[in-house]
């Protein structure tokens, strides 16, 4: 959460769009990349990111640190994350409230955590360690959840508030994850938003999801493979009207569309941000 974070919408930097972006230099506020895709020695990933970084602010989003692993974060991974952060100087570094590594095996999913005091102590310790190594505060993202554990002791929003206070981290509020989890865990997304510790939010994510199964008992799945849903746009409008502009990412990671389609989604988020900014200017 540095002072020069762009209060605009951004897009994921996808190999499908690399050449177009470098050649046409679209008017996009910033790009986000997954840190793990830039941990190789060289080649096209670094070639294109270096050139994109020269043109745009970059946000670094990690998916492999496994901050919630009881057996410790992914060994050696924090040092690799720091190397990428040092090389590309992102305006923000973020990770997930999740775990993905167990006994050295990487499961390639953002797995859920039981919201208990013991989990909170563990995650706070790991976030503090990450921030110490990286030399900066990071943002932690609220997860998409599909299930609940026996014996949970607090709501997700209370867990995140306590985590931010204890560790000094900021929060990345993924509104699609709110919509997905709200259906899957039967809570009201508006209540979630109203109880979320919004004072810690440094970035917002928007994305699309899939609906699995019948109408009677659907599960929503966080797929990032389609346009942002109307419910997510509704929550976004409400959030930004209340908080004012925040860096906002449109995530579209599989079935990646042609650039103009993604660009139009980003422009839509930008128009919400602009309206909120103008509203604030009038009120001032």
């Amino acid at each position: 959460m540095t002072a020069d974070r762009p209060l605009r919408a951004g897009a994921g930097l996808k190999p499908e769009h690399h050449r177009h972006i470098l050649e046409s230099r679209p008017d996009i506020g910033w790009f986000e990349v997954h840190a793990e895709n830039y941990m190789g020695a060289g080649g096209p990933p670094h070639f294109f990111l270096e050139r994109a970084r020269a043109l745009y602010p970059i946000s670094l989003h990690g998916v492999g640190l496994s901050i919630g692993s009881a057996g410790g974060m992914t060994p050696g991974h924090l040092a690799r994350l720091k190397k990428v952060a040092d090389r590309y100087d992102p305006f923000v570094v973020s990770e997930h409230l999740a775990w993905s590594t167990h006994e050295g095996v990487f499961l390639n999913d953002l797995l859920p955590l039981p919201y208990t005091e013991a989990t909170l102590a563990l995650v706070s310790r790991h976030v503090e360690e990450a921030q110490t190594v990286l030399g900066r505060p990071i943002l932690i993202e609220n997860p998409s959840t599909y299930l609940r554990f026996e014996g949970e002791e607090m709501a997700e929003t209370d867990f995140l508030r306590a985590l931010a206070r204890r560790s000094g981290c900021g929060l990345l509020l993924d509104l699609n994850n709110v919509v997905v989890s709200a259906v899957n865990r039967s809570f009201d997304p508006l209540t979630y938003l109203d109880t979320f510790p919004v004072e810690h939010v440094g970035e917002v994510h928007l994305a699309g999801h899939a609906v699995l199964g019948d109408i009677e008992a659907p599960l929503l799945v966080d797929t990032h493979d389609r346009p942002v849903s109307p419910e997510v746009w509704g929550l976004y409008h409400r959030l930004i009207t209340r908080l004012g502009p925040l860096p906002t990412l449109v995530e579209w990671d599989s079935n990646v569309p042609a650039w103009p389609i993604l660009e139009a989604e980003v422009a839509r988020a930008d128009s919400v941000l602009r309206a909120a900014g103008e509203g604030r200017a009038r009120a001032a």
């Binding site: 009881a70 057996g71 797995l111 599909y146 899957n184 039967s186 659907p218 599960l219």
Partner: protein, 256 residues
């Protein structure tokens, strides 16, 4: 409430093994059953890892078909799950696994085609370096030519096979119409390079792998040239190495 490490232990095991039950820590809730909820994670893990293997071994997938590939990849994922969140590093063991996978024993060329595909993948992510031109070699005096050592480009890799792997790869990747490759087609040696942002596959002449192995070991050019049989066309072989971008530097006047 179980300790977190115990919960994660059963969760992790049940994710990779479909015969195991959903962990007891997963609560009963209104709506979808515990099994359906847990199945989302099981599917995320397996589908994403099968997809990452398919992206690295597209010719293998094409040769065996999508269903066979998926079944094969699922067994591989269960037996050799990733050990790092950097998925670019996942799949190095897939070629040798294909050699031991019972249902694939009738397709012995798969192992070497997979080695070629993995070499392409590694070349994509290899360290960057500028390539040398053959002009730098031509500029040397004859004496220096004998003693010069070639530094191979970090992305340059050789895959030698008893099977026509370059023909198989090429016709399944680049050709507009797939060529028929008969059982009497001789073995081939592939040279994989990535001089800039693009990965290339070249067909090397027979025995060129011995020359490159000697150069990679640090042998001076004169000694490396002696490691190939008489009749090997050294100047053509070297011209191919340089034009493919497989050489990144010359070291002169170095002694043992």
């Amino acid at each position: 409430m179980l300790p977190l490490d115990a919960t994660q232990q059963t969760f992790a095991h049940a994710l990779l093994r479909p015969e195991l039950q959903v962990p007891v820590a997963v609560a009963e809730m209104v709506g979808p059953t515990r099994e359906r909820r847990f199945a989302v994670h099981r599917n995320n893990v397996k589908a994403s890892l099968v997809a990452t293997l398919a992206a690295k071994f597209p010719v293998i997938q094409r040769l065996v078909g999508e269903d066979f590939f998926e079944a094969t990849a699922l067994v591989f994922v269960e037996r050799h799950p990733p050990r790092s969140p950097v998925l670019a590093e996942y799949g190095a063991a897939f070629p040798s696994f294909l050699g031991t996978f019972e249902p694939a024993v009738d397709l012995p060329y798969l192992v070497d085609v997979a080695r070629l595909e993995w070499a392409r993948h590694e070349a994509f992510h290899a360290a960057d370096a500028a390539s040398s031109s053959i002009g730098s070699l031509a500029a040397l005096a004859d004496d220096d030519l004998e003693s010069v050592r070639l530094t191979l480009h970090p992305a340059a890799t050789v895959v030698a096979s008893a099977w026509p792997i370059v023909s198989i790869w090429t016709t399944n990747t680049l050709d507009a119409e797939v060529r028929r490759i008969g059982p009497d087609t001789p073995g081939e040696i592939a040279l994989i390079t990535r001089p800039d942002e693009e990965v290339f596959v070249h067909l090397l002449p027979q025995d060129a792998d011995r020359l490159i192995a000697a150069l990679a070991d640090g042998a001076p050019l004169g000694e490396a040239a002696a490691s190939v049989p008489d009749g090997f066309d050294l100047s053509t072989g070297l011209a191919l190495l340089f034009s493919a971008g497989a050489v990144s530097g010359l070291l002169e006047g170095m002694s043992e």
